[in-house]
Every structure is written in structure tokens, then in C-alpha cells.
Symmetry: C3
Subunit: 469 residues, 3 copies
């Protein structure tokens, strides 16, 4: 049986001289609180504080990072409980065994790295998972999950999370957030995020109903375009009043070409009547992203863009298992010309913040960093999704720091629905920042005091500034 | 006169600690047999076992890796014997001198690295080529080529080649392969590969005649679309029966949009009549690639795609010297949406294998690895052509291992027509894998036993599994 | 107060063994003269030899590398004197203070690196700029600028500049260059560059007037297309006669599709009449780039392409501050098919040189290096603009050396309007070349004598050869 060790120097540079510098930098930020300004944790788990059910439904079933790797390795999604409701004890144990048996499939991936940290640091596991110890590990983790110390609130505090943003539907009443804010037992700030994607795509199934519901919630007549815009504005204000700091948008492209008012009104009308073409719907959505930027200038919500993903690439998987199971695949996306209408209008607007994410590593140097290196509103979003691993994070660090400087980075964003991976993800980021900055010090490009100041800024001030926290 | 040395640590990481780990990993796979599941060696050289004629016609004249570099450096292709038949002794010597005189042009390229290995390890050369020693080196190599020990079969065995795939026309009778398989003097498996490009491009010159010939060989009436499809299916079966394991496709894009049956029939008819437009021909080819995937699900041939190259970029060079002289240049190619029809239908089909190659390094992270990280059928093809060199192999290693895991790699593929470069190419790959994995061990991301298991798998099991050997 | 130190080993590899090799390589080229075959220094400063006015108008106000970083960090361009004429002493001091106060914004960027070198090596500054020492530094630099030793000609000599190319309008009379050439006090060769962009874009404002002026200067009737072409040819000859070695082109794409003669004539006529569409103007420009290549074959001017930048991305900034303030953003650009007409005609023309620059790092491996690795006319231009920093220079070094060899590189090009940054930029390049080559030696891919020969070639022979100096 092999041991599972999380070495104190993991991810730090190999060269002994550089590693020494990196150790010092890392030590300075290692224990700082976690600020997580964008993510997908369900806030209800914190409100209810019910113990997590079992290792599989906590760490595997809902995490598409894990399920896609096992699926690619030949494990069908139904065997992992994907798309099912709560798992029985037997099924949960079986899912857990599948992970342990296929542990080798994770080698080299950040998922493996996060798992190592979670198992060792949250659950005190000291054995590398395999077929032989799967049941034993299951029992040990399940036993801890049943105790006080591993309930959601206890972990939230133990993780040192100071800010945790969720992602929410504009029609959400945010009662959970209100209750959390009012609860003296929760010291962290749990902030909602306005995510209106579905309301901006008039050709998507169910759009008209969704918009009507939004109108009802906003107490606004949405029979025409003006009402629709007003309803969105109202719901944004509602989110602001409930502590939201940002609005997030994830569509296939970043084009922001405006429509004439009359054309927008016409498309809206036809869309409500179910008479909209794909092309019209796309034009409308692009126009509305521009409108969202205008609203951000008005209400102060930070605008974040997560473009360029073909969702549900495999139709059968969508039908059988639903969305978010790992079948989303990146697309090439253009930013420079696409965002020109938006940045032409609002790029130097005081207080406007636009955080650009990408899943195409070449785009860091070609478009995102140059934009962030001119526009005071634009920040280069931390590596997202497929890019949130050491080698590609290095590409981000290099491209953005050299082209635009550290001050144009968003700060780390975990963007996860896997609650227990949050500390491991932030820790990975801090280690990689320490290693990168140590390299600059070793190459005599920065003095060590500057590197120390920079890493501290990246972990503390920068996310606060970028996300207005 | 400078010495030519092939250092035992070449290509291993510079840091002494990491290098030590890399040495141990490399030592474990250094002597393992070579599995070459895709390449362009002419199988007849093994059947005939005629001694290679001379150093130039073996190492320079037919190898577009070499000729393009010399051409770019100012040496016209006719001076290198490109497009000529057999070289006279004088010409061969002159071509060899041109290589030696221009040896500096190869600095930094993998061609230089392979040459160093070939010269030192196959021919025992200990001097760096230059104008002064060109004739002497020529004589020494030529002398060895004339002997028993350097005939094709002797080298095949000495190289430790266990599997060698060739690339073949669907109309080929595969008699050479049959003879090799029947020959007790050949221990290696020489397997043909079905490469139907020319039969799938109805606007290409000579298409109709080629299809008719194919029909004749397949003993199938190809007067209509159904017969054409049947002829392809039959030839695939014929290849399977002769030991083929894969079908290879190299077109400019990877689009796989299906046609209606009636439309496919119509385009086929018009194409036979010489009445097809470029657009129709392209649509037909895209449809046929989808058909090829269907056939792969039926007959089990692994499907490999090598897209995105503008062949014969320089028309004059094509006219004067023919194809494959080094004038092929990469194109940007989209995979995510292009392959969606194919993967929507067959992406989770049991036993279907699709190996995606690319000549665009950004595409490893943006599209290929994400696809291989979800679809159990998709493998990320090893760096191909312009990318088969240390820095860009590193990009592949990083992007694919972190996004999809080592299990989604194809294993190394040399893809060469330069027989003598095969061991050097595989050795380079093993050294780079050792260095990469050593880096993960040094960063405490993998334990050394896992790295050892991984490198062994990459060299042995993985190509067998991916190519069903 | 922190010290400013420029360490003798800066930018060299961290590993002690590799660093030792790099030190030796760097030492061999450190003091070699500077050849700058493409840049934007105003030659009048050398003719007049007037002392530079003050630190801000020398080092900040005209340098969009600096102003864009400060602007992104929240400093409005008017506070930096951008778009203003000469600065008052008070304003200059205030601009300088803004730089010092915001010194942290430059961390990690090459701008910071160049500034460190300039401050330390040209002005003997030993303190890191900050709010506290801004005035003192200002006074110390201003004092030196007023003296003999820091006048333009003295610096030109002290920098060791042997060749300095400027960028010039085809209608320029080049009197300044003639005067410099005739001046025995100037040992460096100051060579003009033919940059006809504005004359090739018939839809751009002021095109017709510019063309008429060009005709007048060329003493050529430009009422029809033939005259227009003749005027361009004449002005190119005029530039050649005044020492020019290259013609530079910067348009959004690199497409070179020819027009029928009649169509070119028609578009030209309509354009003169102000009746040209955007599409026609673009087609005309693409045709004219092909014509420029033809002229290069005739008159020998090296052709350099700097494509793929959306100029003046932010319209308001253009209106308020003019062009070249940092608001230019890269665009994705295709080279392979776009350049096929040009390279099909002239790619193997004896003596034709085409230097391809890019602001998209992926394009080095995907298109530029493969083109340079076949066509004897094509050279891979050194990393340009956003890419002229250590990490992305490394991408260039890797991609081009491995795919095409060192002999296909252009040699370093500083491309700067910041006169005082020239030595720091060339020094950075030499250090990075030394580090890169040292890595090849450490990996036993090159012998050290070859690395030494290569770095010397890159600094001396290669720019002379590529730019026919």
C-alpha cells in the first residue's frame, strides 16, 4: 500500500536557490484568508449545515472535473451516479471504489493534486487510494463527515474563507443569502452573483416563460422591450441590495454589436411570440451584453465574461445525464473586435470593471493582456476551467504580468462547485504565484521585497479591488 | 575538426536533482522495443532487403524534414536530388557534401538531434560533419551500408522495432505485407494503414479514375454512391484481413457535417461525370469522413486524423519536384464544432478510437485535450510534424496531461519516412517523457513509482491499447 | 528608500550550471555594436543634437509602452502630457512624479526592466523610484540631460549604435538622412525605411490628397493607376538612393490576392473620385501588397510585414490624444493562405527577403516558422510589441529554432521610438539568447562552440544579411 504525502514544497520550483525564495514568499501568504469572488457552491448547504451525506456525493458525483476524467477513462456516467438524486449507501460506496480503482487516471491533472490535499488535509488520509483500501478510506471519510467538525459551517471556518460568492438566477429571491447574512454564526460574507444568461438568449427553450417569471418577480410588465430591460435593471438592483458585487455572463462569443432601439424592440416582440430566428436571437443577445455593461456602469456590478464554451457537446449525454457533467468543450473566440463597441462606450468609464476570462491560452497574450494593459476597466481573469492547472497558469502569469503587469490580474478565482477543493485550489495558486515571483527574483527582475508585496497584493487587495469587496 | 558526441544525459533536465530522477525513469524504458503505429516507411525495402544505395539517398534525398531546412538555407532542391530517381555516385557524394557544409543550418532543430544519434549510434561516426570531413564520412557510411549489418532487415532488428505501420493506398494489394507476414526472417509486425484521402476528394484531379480502379480492385460496381461506399467498406475489410489496425485521414479541415443520402448520391453522380464544384466536393468529403467513422465502428479500424496542412504551398515546387519536399504549411483548424456531428454519433461507441493530431500547439489545450478528457473514444495524438521537437512536445505533455491525464495520450508516433531516424525519434520521446515526469516528481505532484509506471505505460501499453495492437 | 540594482546576471537561467554557460556566451556578445534595422526614432534629434528637454518628455510622454501601463493603472493620459506639445517644467516634473509614484505598476514588465537599465546605466541612478525620491531623481536626470555627455549624438556613440533605421513617409525628402550621412560627426549609419501604409488604403481619410502629394514629390502624374504605381516605384528608388534597405507594411491582414489589371485601374479611378467602398479599398490594398513584393524583387528593398493590430481601438482616446498612445490591440491573423499568392510568385526569387512579424505567439509555431523553414526568402521577425518580453521571446526562440533553425531568424529588432531604451532592449535580447543557447548546451543538443558561433551570428551577421546591410 502506497502512502499519500503532501510535501511542504509541492509545486515550488526545483532549483534549490529559486525554491528558497519561493518558500519565503509562500510562507507569507499561506495562512491568509480565502477570498473567493466567483464560484458555484450552493449556499443552502451553509444555511442548513446538514452533514455531507457520504464521500461520493460530496467529492465525485457533482464534480464534473472528476466525472469527465473517469468517463474518458471508460467509466460510464451512470456508474458514477451522475444525474441521479441522492445515492444509496451501496451506490455511494461503489462510486467511491470506482474513483480509487481508477486513481491512476488522475495522474498529472490538477484534480489529483486537489484530491491529495483534500484527503490529507481535511480527512487526515495517509494512503494513496487504490482498489485495496477503497472501503477503508470510504469508512474513514464517512465517519468524519458524520461528526461536528466536518459539517459545512465548520469547514467554512476551518478553510479560512472570508468571502464566498455564489452564482444565482436573477429570479432567485436570495432568501438563503439574506438568512446567511443575518446569521451571527456565519462570519464569512456569502455574496450572490447575478447570472442572467438564460434571459438573454431568446431562442433558447423556455425563454419566454423565464422572462415572464422574471417580470413577475421584478413586479414589472415585460410585454415590451422597455419592460424587459427595466425588469433586468430591477433585479440587478435587488442583487446589489442583497450584497452582490458582480454579474456574470457566459455565452459562446463576446460580440457586443448594438442594435437600433426599434430593432431590439421588434426582435423582443417576435421572440415573445416564439417567432425569433437563431440569427436574430444571437444579435439580440449581443446587444444585451452591451446593455449589461451600461447597467454595470449605473449600478456598479462588476461585469465578468466567461465566453467560448460549446456546452453539452455530446447531445446524448445531455439527454441522459443533464448539463454540467464534463461534456463542455472550448471554442476559439475573438475578443479584440468583438468587445470594441462595449469598450468604446464604457472602457474608460470610472468604476466600470470588466473581467475577461478565456479557455484559450494563446488569447492571454494575444488579446486579453493587451486589452487589460490599456483599459483601466479591464482585468485579466485567472485561468479558468481547463486552464486552471500549473502549466497553463504559468502561461497566464507570464503573458499577463509581462504585457500588462500584476495589477491587471483578477486575483485567483476558484470557480468551483466542489466545496472541499476550495482551500486546495487557493493553496495551489499561492504556491504557483510564489514560484513564478521567485523566478523573477532569481533572474534579478524584481527585488524580493517587491515580490513579497506583489504576492500579498494578489492574495488580498487585488480580488477586493477588482470585485469591489 | 570537432567531435560529435551523443551524451548519455542529452535532453534530460538541467537541474541536478531533477536530472537524477529523469535518469532513473529513462533507464527503465530505454531498451524497450519500439512500437511505431503510424509512419511512412516503404515496406518493400524490408521485403527486398537490398542494401541502401548511399548516404545521400538514404538520409537526405527522400526526407523532407532535411530538404526543407537546406532549401530554406539557400540550397536549391535540384542540388539535393529531390524529385530525381536514383542518384549517381557523384551526385550522391555532392548531396552529402551539401549537408555537411550546411550542417550549421540544422542547429537547434530535432533533425540535427536525430542526425547526431543516427551518425553516432548507427554508423559510429565521432566527428561533427563539416566541409572538411564530408568525403571521409561519406566513405565510412557508404562502406557500412554495403555490409550485412546495415541492410534493412538487420537494422529493423537492431532498432528493436516490434511493430511498424506503413501507410497505404486502399487499392494496394498488400502483397508486400503478406509476404513480410509470411516471412520467418521478419519478427516485427509490419502492418498496413488504410489511407483513402484521394478517394474522398471528388474535385481532385484523377478522382474518377482512381475510384474506378478502386471499384475494380474491390470487385464492386462503383457507378453509384452505394457501390462506392461498398467498395470502400470492402477495401477496409481487406486491409483488416491483412493486419491493418487503423485508417488515416489528412484533409484541410475536420468538419464532419452529414449530407442527406440523396444529396450524397447526387454529388457522387455529378463528380463521376466531372461536374462537381469545389464546394460540393468539400461537402462530400466532410460527409465521407463521418462515413469513415461509421465504418470504423463496424470494422474496428482506429480512425486517425491529421488535418490542417496546406499541401504544396509553393506551386512551382510541386511542378518541378513533386509533393512531399517540405513545402507543406500548417493552417488554423477548428475541431470542437467540426467534430461534433461525428462525436455526437460515435463518440461513446464501444471500441471506437479516434486519434486527433494537430500542427497548431495552442489546439492541444483549447480543443484536443478537452475532447480527449471527455470522450472515451478520443486520444490526443503525439506532436506531429512541425511540433515533434522538444519545446513543442513539452507543450503537448503539459496540456494533455493536465487537462486529460496521461491515459488520453496516443503514445509516441514517429510518422517518418526516414527509416534510420526511427530509433532516435523514439529515444527522444522517451527522454522527454522521463524529463517531464521527473519534473512532476520533483514538484511532488507524482510519486516516483507512479512516474515509472506512467512512462512504462506510455512506451508499451498505451500504443497497443490505442491502436489495438 | 530601496536601492536600484542591475545585477550582472539578470535574465540569465537560474540553474548554476546553465548560468555559467550563459555567462560565457553573453560575455562574448555583450559589447558588440548595436544594429537596429527597424525602429521609430526621429532622426532630427540626431541632426539637431539639441539636449533632451527633461526626463518626462524623454522617457514617458512619447512612449506608448509606458503610457498605456500607467493609463491601465488609472492615470489619465492628459496627466502624462500625452498628445500635448512640449511640457512645461512643472508639468514635466508632475509627469515624472506620476511614474515614480506608480512604479509598482511596471513590475514584471519589460518596461520596468528597460527602465532599470536606463536609469542605472545611462544616468547612474542607484535608488528605486518612489514618491519620496521622485523630485531628486528628476533633478539628477535633468541635470545630466543638460550636459554634453547626454546629448543625442553623444548617447548614440556611447550606446555603440552602428546602424539605426528610422521609419519614414514615402513623400519625405530624406534631407535629414542626407545631412546625417554627410556629417562626419556621425559614425553610425542612419538609414530610412519606406513605409507606404497610408498610400495603400484608398478608403482612409485623406488618401486622395496624400496620393496627389506623393505624385508631386515623385514628379509623376498619378491620375491613373499606372502613374500611381510608377510614383511608388520612383519613391522607393529615391529611398534606395538615400540608403534605405527595407520597406515596411502594417495592415490588419496579410492577404495578397491579386486583382485583374482592369479592376485595379477601376478601383483606383473610383477611389480618386471618393467613390470607393471599404471592400474595394481592402481588395486594392491586398493587391498592392503583392505589387510591393514585386517591387522588392526589382529594387532589392527588404519587405517587412507587421500585421494584425487594431489601431486606435478606443475611439475617444484617438480623438482626444491622437494615435500611438497605447490603444492598439492585436487581432488574430492568418498567414499561410494569405501569403500564398505572394510566395507563389516571389517566394524563391533570388534576393527577395520577406520578414514576417506577428503579435500572436501561437503563430510562430503554426505559420511563421514553417514558412521560414521552407522559403529561402522568408525570415521570422523577432518578437514584436506585446511579445518583446522574456517569456514570449522564449516562445519565439523555441518555435523558430526548432522548426526552422537559427538561420531563419531576423536577428533582434527593437522597433522603438524610445531612444534611450535601445541599448537595454538589445542587451535583454543578448541575455535571453545566451540563456536559451546555454539551455541547449546543457541539454547536450549543441556544443558550446556552436552556441558561441550562433549567438555571435544572431547579433552581427544575421541582421546584416537579412536587412542587406
Amino acid at each position: 500500500m502506497a502512502t499519500l504525502t503532501v510535501h511542504p514544497d509541492r509545486l515550488l520550483p526545483a532549483d534549490p536557490g529559486v525554491r528558497d525564495i519561493a518558500r519565503r514568499l509562500y510562507a507569507a501568504v499561506r495562512e491568509l484568508p480565502i477570498i473567493s469572488p466567483h464560484g458555484h457552491v450552493d449556499p443552502r448547504i451553509l444555511l442548513d449545515d446538514t452533514p455531507f451525506a457520504d464521500p461520493a456525493s460530496l467529492l465525485i458525483q457533482p464534480d464534473h472535473y472528476v466525472t469527465r476524467l473517469l468517463h474518458a477513462g471508460g467509466v460510464q456516467l451512470d456508474r458514477l451516479g451522475v444525474g441521479e438524486g441522492p445515492l444509496t449507501e451501496d451506490k455511494a460506496r461503489e462510486v467511491w471504489r470506482l474513483l480509487c480503482t481508477n486513481w491512476h487516471l488522475l495522474r498529472g491533472t490538477p484534480v489529483r493534486y486537489w484530491f491529495d490535499s483534500e484527503l490529507a488535509e481535511i480527512f487526515g488520509i495517509t494512503q494513496r487510494p487504490d482498489a485495496g483500501n477503497a472501503d477503508d478510506l470510504y469508512d474513514r471519510i464517512a465517519g468524519q463527515l458524520a461528526g461536528e467538525g466536518h459539517r459545512p459551517r465548520a469547514l467554512l471556518e476551518r478553510f479560512g474563507i472570508e468571502v464566498l460568492a455564489t452564482t444565482d438566477d436573477p429570479a432567485d429571491d436570495l432568501e438563503v443569502h439574506a438568512a446567511l447574512a443575518a446569521d451571527p454564526g456565519i462570519k464569512a460574507r456569502i455574496t450572490p452573483t447575478f447570472r442572467p444568461d438564460r434571459y438573454l438568449e431568446p431562442a433558447a427553450p423556455g425563454w419566454a416563460e423565464a422572462v415572464k417569471r422574471l417580470g413577475a418577480v421584478a413586479e414589472t410588465e415585460v410585454g415590451d422591450y422597455a419592460g424587459y430591460v427595466a425588469a433586468l435593471e430591477r433585479r440587478r438592483r435587488y442583487f446589489v441590495d442583497h450584497g452582490a458585487v458582480s454579474a456574470d455572463h457566459s455565452h459562446t462569443d463576446t460580440i457586443t454589436t448594438p442594435l437600433d432601439r426599434a430593432e431590439a424592440e421588434r426582435i423582443y416582440r417576435w421572440a415573445l411570440a416564439g417567432q425569433v430566428s437563431e440569427a436574430e436571437a444571437t444579435a439580440f443577445r449581443r446587444h444585451m451584453i452591451l446593455e449589461m455593461a451600461r447597467m454595470s456602469c449605473d449600478d456598479g456590478l462588476v461585469m465578468t465574461l466567461h465566453p467560448g464554451v460549446r456546452r453539452n457537446h455530446h447531445p446524448d449525454t445531455l439527454v441522459r445525464y443533464g448539463p454540467d457533467t464534463g461534456a463542455d468543450i472550448p471554442l476559439a473566440v475573438e475578443y479584440t473586435d468583438a468587445l470594441r463597441p462595449l469598450l468604446g462606450r464604457y472602457g474608460t468609464h470610472p468604476g466600470f470593471h470588466l473581467v475577461l476570462f478565456t479557455v484559450d491560452p494563446d488569447v492571454f497574450a494575444r488579446e486579453v493582456a493587451p486589452l487589460a494593459g490599456f483599459y483601466p476597466s479591464v482585468y485579466a481573469g485567472a485561468p479558468w476551467w481547463f486552464l486552471d492547472n500549473p502549466a497553463l497558469i504559468r502561461r497566464y502569469q507570464e503573458s499577463v504580468s509581462e504585457i500588462a503587469g500584476f495589477g491587471r490580474m483578477s486575483g485567483f478565482i476558484d470557480d468551483t462547485r466542489a466545496f472541499c477543493s476550495i482551500p486546495a485550489r487557493h493553496d495551489m495558486s499561492r504556491r504557483l504565484d510564489a514560484g513564478f515571483l521567485a523566478g523573477l527574483v532569481a533572474a534579478h527582475r524584481l527585488d524580493e521585497d517587491e515580490a513579497l508585496d506583489t504576492i500579498t497584493m494578489l492574495v488580498t487587495e487585488q480580488p477586493r479591488k477588482v470585485f469591489k469587496l
